[in-house]
């Protein structure tokens, strides 16, 4: 322990320089108040990373595709570049939100559902919007979503954590009634099938485990 003459304080042994004024001190050792060295952490915090490389490559690919499309628009008047661009965006969402992310699997499945629906809907729109995505893809994806969540939930003895997601799916399916109202779908039976399937799942949930269901409602809504 040495005194820093400038600050007039005693400085513990591990410091070669005064933490207050940075002047050099005569200390040479270690002490019990020592903290770990952060060199490794600094190194990990450095700017260079794989994610940033991929980000740069993806953005470059998007800009290049768009440029080529616009430059050749007079020869080929479709905006074909939107399809590979949307696929790249989907790849990014999958990378960040599904592979890298630490959230619950239910959350990941929901995000995948939304992104795949959005991707296929966009491709449909870019190709003349013959409504195949809204008629067939989205309703059947919803059924798959509910089924997948049910399977995951059934595997665990603590299935309640999936309840929020199952309820969300139910409301998503209900909202597909909107599709019918705006004539965005070519056939009613697909959306109705999806709604009925999810409704049956929720009813089954309420009937077969009604005490646990009530407990979950209390938790989530603080009733």
């Amino acid at each position: 322990m040495t005194r820093c003459k400038h600050c007039n304080v005693i400085v513990d042994n591990q410091h070669r320089q005064c933490p207050l004024c940075s002047r050099i001190l005569d200390n040479d050792g270690e002490s019990i108040t020592q903290y770990p060295s952060y060199q490794k952490i600094y190194y990990q915090m450095k700017d260079f990373s794989i994610t940033k490389i991929f980000l740069f490559l993806t953005i470059s690919a998007i800009i290049v595709l768009l440029t080529i499309n616009l430059l050749t628009i007079q020869y080929y008047s479709q905006l074909w570049s939107t399809i590979p661009i949307l696929c790249l965006l989907y790849a990014w969402i999958t990378y960040k939100k599904t592979i890298l992310s630490n959230t619950h699997i239910g959350n990941k499945i929901l995000v995948q559902f939304f992104s795949i629906s959005a991707l296929l809907l966009a491709i449909d729109i870019c190709n003349g919007f013959s409504k195949w995505s809204t008629t067939y893809v989205i309703p059947f994806l919803s059924i798959a979503l509910t089924l997948l969540l049910s399977i995951f939930a059934a595997r665990k003895s603590y299935w309640q954590e999936y309840m929020g997601y199952l309820l969300a799916t139910f409301f998503i399916n209900l909202s597909s009634i909107v599709l019918l109202f705006f004539h965005l779908s070519n056939a009613i039976w697909t959306s109705i099938t999806a709604i009925v399937y999810t409704l049956l799942t929720v009813i089954g949930l309420v009937i077969f485990s009604d005490r646990k269901f009530k407990e979950e409602m209390k938790k989530r809504f603080h009733l």
Partner: protein, 432 residues
Amino acid sequence: MKEEFAVIKWYRLDNAANLFPSVTNIHNTSVYRVSVILKEQIDRDILQKSLDCVYHRFPMLFVRLHKGVFWNYLEQNTSKFTVEEDKEYPCHYITKIKGNSYLLRVFYYRNRISVEIFHSLTDGNGAIEFMKSLLYYYLVFSGHTIRLDQNILLADGGVDSCDIEDGFSNYYEKVDMKPNKEKNAYHITGTQFENYGNNVIHGVVSASKLNAVAKQKGATITSFLSALIIYSIYQTRMQYSSHKNPIVVTVPVNLRHFFPSKTLRNFFGVVNIGADITRETTVDQIILKTTEMLKEKTQKENLLQNISKNVALEKFGAAKFVPLFVKDFFVNLGFDIFGEDKKTITLSNLGRILIPQDMYEYVQQFETVLYTTPKSPINCGVCSTNDRLVISFSRIIVETDIIQYFFSHLAEKEGVEVEIYSNDWGIDYDKV
């Protein structure tokens, strides 16, 4: 693989705890640290064994945060809890805050055991009770005999409802609200470290000496240190500038001293003591002012105002039906307008930590480190045991002028010897 937990316990967040999940991010982690430095090096296996022992005595601490539709809530965490070696800067962000991670961390490095807690779980008082129990079992499993002449929460003591009650709701009374007419406070600015993180400088003084000096000036340790901080900020930053805002120190107050409660959750209020300083103001004048303000604002009626203001918002009927993301937005706004804008720096004094007499032989000192925020880049934590009082400044800016002035003044003008050490985060000694 089927899990063994048939019933998973869950807890509502207490009134103060509701704030933190909404405002927490990497620059405002809401994680604070309480550490103890022992005279012998820490044995990892004994520490893990002690932790496994106290785990079931503090179930409200070993939880994960779950996002509900209208409220967040805490749920028992069923994964294994392990102690880790200290590697990162103190009070760094818990990344999986809304995922599966624990909201509490126990670190060890050389002679130091550190407990880092997300503020939604408990306040400084609760953290200390946990640390005391952990430390007690650590020393006992290390082969030392410790007689229980002080209150320690033992592992075989059951958890009763007093431990998890919401003190705020308990003492809530409908009172007439006095309007809040505080001015915006002065904010400290500086150059951020190249690598973002908390640099901590600790200053150790004799608790009895500091107490004597404070008493001589008619102050308590808290009001004395607050005054000194205000004076240091003025002398280093405001003296020659055109800023006219008051320097305000936020002091968290343990409400258990005024409203009896055994709760191990949050039960604290914050009191703002500030001063408009001029060049002619002396340190002693500031000390008188802070002492008077602290005394007045910790009168029971004023503290009740504090409690009521917060609980009223939560109990407001319609709040039950406002979705969480909307609540988050307003909480954030309120936090800025009524919280961050109105203060310069936080000074949290956890007071004397009372441990059994036999422990003094093995304990060097305790430390408490607060988290920083963008508008409050320097914060101060104080605690003491066995005549060693440790004042810890955490900062995210390079400049040490305020802290240097503070300690030098203490050493030279008040005659209190100071011993300094730091974690040296962000300091590149080749460049300095």
